[in-house]
Point group: C3
Chain length 272, copies 3
């Protein structure tokens, strides 16, 4: 079946771990198309993986199966999960790596700081049907032994209810939304890309329409106003990037290196 | 349609940008085969991308569509381009990244240092039919929003004339050909590969047949004569590599690190 | 034909060499599925490639063709090889990079420290039918010009006897098996993975069943006992990893960096 499976891991590209996932999947569904999203997630960084996945998954065909293996709790009691949305399937450990996907739905209700109750068009299943896993399951590589075969079977059209048991509460961390005061918004850096662009959690519609002119403050730098493209402006610039988030960039340079900034750095948008 | 699309970008492998291109393409042509050429082009280095692409594109099947997104001018007035050659299609910004492809044709006439007039079997089209792009186009990621959907439609067999308007003048920088004097040739390093081999712009037929014996000078090192394989010689060696260019290599080592050399370094071949 | 080809090289991801292999293969078999195992093998490190390949190849479908290009002797007299096992085909230079595969068979008999005589269900062929190679063969890139087209033809179902001549002796280095004394086993680190886990050559069944309690010694560190998962224990831990080998790991950290250890480091398992 010519479905698409994507893979997001913190396995890096110096090992054969990613290939092991692919070998298992192709042994079950030889016709599937495999696409790497990213394997250079910082080791065990669930939040970075969660964010990156959320920026790209909607560009894939309907019914794509997204496999995410950033799994510091492998071999412990953390649950293996299938999440079904109207658009796609996600197979991942139940550790918060699907938080953005879950909160993008309309019906997730936080029950505490780390869990949500699903409803509406999101359905979750705890993977428990071991007859669909590899016959031998290691303690340290559930990606290969459990997640990959389950992903392959979803790509063949097998329903998630045949692979796991429906549950209504899953793990999701609170998305770090920006906070708005009377004359400024405080956000933070969520991701640093290959060009050194700092991608923040502030979106265009977080700014009131009457804020025509703003300054952006990061560290001890002030950027006056925003631009439309990377080629505009001088030196440090601020713009809304391709995923809709405010980015700090440096013209023909690397903003993260220049500012010595990284994920978590505070950013303030001030009405002028 | 089982066509092949290749991808060359400066996006690196730490983000989801490459995956976004692939998701868009597969949403339009689910049957296509996607091949990465290189995503570690140095940020915004049009010349490096142009060279690397030229060394590999002829090894792909006829009618392959080569997508190249090294695009420092994204969102400005630089034009999005389709180039059709007898062998393949290229989709790229009109910024010189196709220079080697264009000069490999027989009929490109430079009009100034940065543009050529096409003729013969090369045809160019400025992409302008927005009904074939994503419905929402960002200012900062035309690769995803314009180039990828156009690439996918070419791979489905749609003619370029349906996606853009024919033009006869496009951007191409002058290829840095080596210069020959009576007893020596001066060239430069175009690329440094993973093994530290310095790949220059000097080809075998740049050397007159009567130059049986040559010395190669780089920095304050002189290499006496050339060898046939990496395993021959001692220490620094010079040979014609797999793309036909003169390379400086170091036996069981890294020539670039040893010489502290990089792209742009001058190299001289002296008749002995 | 919808076969699978895997690729393992030391080409890195900054060049177009891997893409050249894929272009050649797809020109011959457009229907094949290509999977990267690893391209970040340390330059010319045959032993690392041999080990990594052995941990993953059995997870691929039957009749997969595994192409391995770690080839410091390219252009010299080292032979190009096809190895046929009951499960798969391997195409590689005859330089020992298939040693683990060969010794996994039941019938390899060492003839000296560097060669084995095959028998039973392993068959080897020296590639010699140049009509199936690219028409022009460089001295420095047999991967592209010889190995890739041969790999593609195997994936189309062509028998190896049509591509080379059967031989019974091939190159295989001695696998570095651990050595057992009365109260301890001495092994070594074979691979360091992306998480900094040190993967050794000691397998579970190298430990006598009566050794219920062990200490693991590496450098001047002693690890008391073993655990089942990465999430258990404190600081440095030892466990049997997903390929069955004893690993040294650091909880939420990087053991290789912490210990300043690398491939070749000695490790001792002491009965307690």
């Amino acid at each position: 079946v010519g479905a698409v499976i994507t893979l997001t891991t913190d396995f890096g590209l110096n090992d054969a771990y990613v290939a092991a996932l692919k070998g298992v999947i192709l042994s079950i569904n030889p016709e599937v198309t495999l696409v790497d999203i990213c394997h250079n997630i910082r080791p065990q960084n669930i939040r970075q993986a969660a964010f990156l996945l959320s920026t790209v998954c909607d560009y894939f065909p309907y019914q794509t199966v997204h496999l995410v293996v950033v799994d510091p709790g492998v071999g412990t009691s953390r649950r293996p999960l299938i999440l079904k949305t109207p658009r796609a399937f996600f197979v991942a450990p139940d550790n918060g790596v699907l938080s953005y996907i879950i909160y993008a739905g309309t019906s997730a209700v936080p029950t505490d700081g780390e869990h949500v109750k699903l409803g509406g068009d999101l359905k979750a299943y705890v993977i428990n049907r071991s007859e669909y896993w590899l016959s031998s399951v290691s303690n340290t590589f559930h990606g290969r032994d459990i997640f990959a075969p389950v992903t392959a079977r979803l790509s063949l059209g097998m329903p998630p209810s045949g692979l796991g048991i429906n549950v209504d509460t899953v793990t999701a961390f609170r998305i770090p939304f920006p906070s708005r005061e009377i004359d400024h918004i405080t956000g933070e850096v969520l991701h640093v890309d290959n060009f050194g662009n700092l991608i923040t959690n502030i979106r265009a519609n977080d700014l009131p329409p009457e804020w025509q002119n703003v300054n952006i403050v990061i560290g001890n730098h002030v950027i006056e106003g925003m631009v439309k493209t990377y080629a505009k402006g001088q030196d440090l610039i601020a713009l809304f990037g391709s995923s809709g988030y405010l980015e700090i960039s440096r013209k023909n340079g690397n903003a993260a290196a220049f500012l010595n900034s990284d994920i978590g750095e505070k950013i303030i948008v001030q009405r002028r």
